[in-house]
């Protein structure tokens, strides 16, 4: 990322010192080869245990060295530094395969939400252990019956003497099986319109009545869970924000999600596998294949500049505007184009292989993964609605569900 370094060459002495500190610490402590299952957002549950232990150990060292939660407030365990410091750390860390993937949901979504909407007690209790990796967090918003209409959720929390009783099902939860805490939203008043009867809670994932089950994706892998809540007791102090005002808190979480999807990705040069593919198939002089690879390269580079622009605006503290949605939409185009190109270039050998052909299934797996890029983290249709309505100011469709009590709505495929 030489271009980004360029923009930071006029560093303050403080920043330069920080860079030096980060560089030295990483050199002495960071792993140089990846630990299986610790880099992605979610690990395969079957091989997760060792990976989680390794990740927690590393994160604790990082925290103890004063290199975790760089921009988070000092009073809760963060370092109180600027986003420029965070950027410097990311630059220095980029050569190392840090085993921090399982903390992304906590740091990118749950933490910021607790910091913005949580009570003083909650911040004191949860933020430091989260940063130290002692406690891992997940997010529990999606439900089978809601989908793109996140606020159409049906999980119920009924108030009791000392808190709430939670029942319902969540889905597409990353890492639920190794997480300690989760941010959950549930319906607390079905007589209100759907956005207004929702409340956010912190839920103990080890509490009685919580069951997690791996969800098998179409690739055959399991990167997500279903989570079932059966009469799970949530103590009163775990309420985040106000009762029936959880949708506002959820927006904070989701905005952070979009930014982190849009600005992520792009380590290494993503055209490299295709260049190698052409060479290995003897297609490096095939003009049609050359044109296709160059087409993909154009989109990949443009996506990279888009990501740099998004990061720059985050660094500058200006709102990234529509760029998160733009990057997500363009990213899913790239995913579709590149995955189809892979199997097409390889031909029959991409769709069937012998047992001893290492990695021969990669092109087919990419085709199977590709629809996920259009669905996960807000479908492409939803991104286009966001751009159309919030960015371009186009009028909303006639809304039939804004003001009706939730209990009168049809949701999911219920009848």
């Amino acid at each position: 990322m030489s271009a980004v370094e360029e923009t930071t060459r006029e560093e303050s002495a403080d920043e330069a010192a920080f860079r030096e500190k980060a560089r030295t610490w990483l050199r002495d402590n960071a792993p140089t080869s990846a630990v299986a299952g610790t880099q992605g957002v979610a690990a395969d549950p079957n091989e997760a245990t060792d990976a989680v232990t390794a990740a927690k150990q590393f994160q604790a060292k990082l925290f103890d060295a004063g290199l975790a939660g760089l921009t988070w407030p000092q009073e809760y365990g963060g370092q109180g530094l600027t986003s420029r410091h965070r950027r410097i750390f990311e630059e220095e860390a980029s050569p190392y395969p840090l085993p921090t993937g399982i903390f992304i949901i906590g740091f990118g979504m749950c933490g910021p939400t607790v910091l913005e909407h949580g009570t003083e007690e909650q911040k004191n209790r949860y933020i430091a252990p989260m940063l130290r990796g002692d406690e891992i967090w997940c997010q529990l918003f999606s439900e089978p019956g809601a989908g793109s209409d996140v606020a159409g959720l049906q999980a119920r929390a009924v108030e009791t003497e000392d808190g709430w009783l939670l029942n319902g099902q969540k889905v597409w939860t990353s890492g639920a099986h190794y997480c300690d805490y989760g941010l959950v939203i549930a319906r607390t008043d079905p007589d209100q319109p759907k956005h207004r009867g929702i409340t956010m809670f912190i839920v103990d994932m080890n509490a009685e009545g919580v069951t997690t089950r791996p969800l098998r994706q179409i690739t055959g892998e399991s990167h997500f869970n279903e989570v079932f809540f059966e009469d799970v007791h949530i103590p009163r102090e775990n309420l985040v924000g106000e009762v029936n005002d959880g949708w506002r808190c959820a927006i904070t979480t989701l905005m952070n999600e979009r930014v982190s999807i849009g600005s992520s990705g792009g380590d290494g040069d993503p055209i490299e596998p295709y260049v190698k593919l052409l060479r290995s198939r003897g297609l490096e002089d095939d003009p049609v294949a050359r044109d296709e690879v160059a087409s993909l390269y154009v989109r990949q580079r443009v996506q990279r500049y888009l990501g740099m622009r998004l990061n720059e605006s985050l660094r500058m503290g200006t709102a990234p505007g529509p760029l998160g949605s733009v990057a997500k939409l363009h990213g899913s185009i790239i995913s579709q184009v590149s995955s189809q190109m892979g199997v097409d270039l390889v031909g029959l050998d991409a769709v069937a292989w012998e047992d001893d052909e290492q990695g021969a299934d990669r092109w087919a797996q990419a085709v199977l993964q590709s629809p996920g890029s259009v669905i996960a983290g807000g479908t492409s249709d939803i991104q286009r609605n966001i751009i159309g309505e919030r960015v371009l100011g186009l009028p909303k469709e006639p809304q039939v569900d804004r003001d009706l009590p939730f209990r009168e709505l049809t949701v999911g495929t219920q009848r």
Binding site: S148, I218, V343, D344, L368, P371, I375
Partner: protein
């Protein structure tokens, strides 16, 4: 033969109904998922019923060889219906590749000897075509005369149902030309290694031949017979792809009527509605080409060289597109292993590559347009 190209006769509609009933009964999601975990990948009892109840294996085998003597209009109906269900069976290998190879290349005597066993469902047949896709250029198997017959040596990959086939037609080089040879599945010197693949409902295998005894089908260069066989099979596969794409469309449409978001069935949103409409455009365009192609195989054989590649190219793109769009419409549930949507994407992805991918088909068409 109906006088119409695109409009089915009442007899055709009736035939379609019985094939559909059979396929739906024998390829429920549970059955398909059970079979795709098994080593052999198909159900021999169902294969047998397919022949005994409906005579599908002998559908276009001449009556004198134990078949029904129908043609490609009827074959297209069968393939479309089988394509709807993903029924794992060696039908494409047997009916589209094996039978047609024999019909196109074998002598009357050979046909009389080989076809009846296939028509009755006793034998599974296939063709080892992958290396011969560009005429004879890629063919890696060599044949040598021996003992009044031939022996073959070499290997071939991506043989459809090659591990289960009782009869494998193998293209091989012989005396500077291309010959097609019948190899028994149980022949000594033949090693068959199942391959794994993205399509869990149709198997491929690698075959290695080490001095395997084989019978040459017909005489003289068989390159044209091979080409015709592959084109005819491409038409059959295209019909199958139309059936699969149609189910993806129906699944998406049904779900978008049943599923509510934002207080409305999602099919009332233009984004979803128009995606379904685009699927229908793909399906009906592909279907038009398939119906024309199935007619042309018999009535305009001189057009096959053009019609087959363009139909295969279009139907491949249409199926992959519909399989993907179905998953988009389904959303999260469509991305789970439990939903059958991915089985169609898997089938579409493999079928696109089989018998010549779109780019290969276009390259043939370009040669016809520009190198004449």
């Amino acid at each position: 033969m109906s006088r119409q190209i695109f409009t089915p006769s009442p007899e055709h509609e009736e035939f379609r109904t019985s094939v559909r009933r059979f396929a739906e009964a024998n390829a429920t999601s549970d059955i398909v998922r059970d079979l795709m975990e098994r080593d052999d990948g198909y159900d021999a009892a169902v294969w047998s019923q397919m022949s005994q109840q409906l005579g599908l294996q002998g559908l276009h085998v001449p009556e004198e060889h134990g078949g029904s003597g129908f043609g490609f209009a009827e074959l297209a109906i069968v393939f479309e219906e089988l394509g709807r269900t993903l029924l794992p069976s060696p039908y494409l290998a047997t009916a589209a590749l094996g039978v047609n190879a024999i019909l196109n290349a074998a002598t009357p005597d050979q046909q009389a000897r080989l076809l009846p066993r296939i028509a009755t469902g006793e034998e599974i047949a296939t063709l080892a075509y992958a290396e011969a896709l560009d005429g004879t250029d890629g063919c890696t198997v060599e044949a040598k005369a021996a003992d009044g017959g031939h022996v073959l040596s070499g290997h071939s990959r991506h043989v459809l149902d090659g591990a289960n086939a009782d009869l494998i037609v193998v293209p091989a080089r012989v005396d500077g030309e291309l010959g097609l040879f019948a190899v028994e599945g149980s022949a000594s010197g033949l090693t068959r290694t199942p391959m794994r693949g993205v399509d869990l409902t149709r198997r491929q295998a690698r075959i290695d031949l080490d001095g395997v005894a084989a019978e040459r089908l017909g005489e003289g260069d068989a390159a044209a017979a091979l080409r015709t066989t592959l084109d005819q099979a491409a038409v059959c596969l295209s019909a199958e792809m139309v059936g699969g794409a149609q189910v993806c469309l129906e699944t998406a449409v049904q779900y978008s009527k049943d599923r509510y978001q934002f207080g409305r069935p999602i099919g009332s949103f233009q984004a979803v509605k128009h995606r379904c409409a685009d699927m229908l455009v793909d399906v009906e365009c592909a279907r038009s080409a398939v119906l024309y192609a199935a007619w042309a195989v018999e009535e305009r054989p001189e057009e096959l060289d053009t019609v087959a590649p363009l139909t295969k190219a279009f139907a491949s793109e249409a199926y992959v597109s519909c399989a993907n769009k179905n998953i988009y419409v389904l959303g999260g549930i469509g991305y789970t292993w439990e939903h059958d949507a991915h089985l169609y994407l898997r089938r579409a992805t493999a079928s696109r590559a089989l018998l010549g991918a779109p780019a290969q088909q276009r390259s043939r068409l370009a040669a016809q347009l520009l190198d004449a």
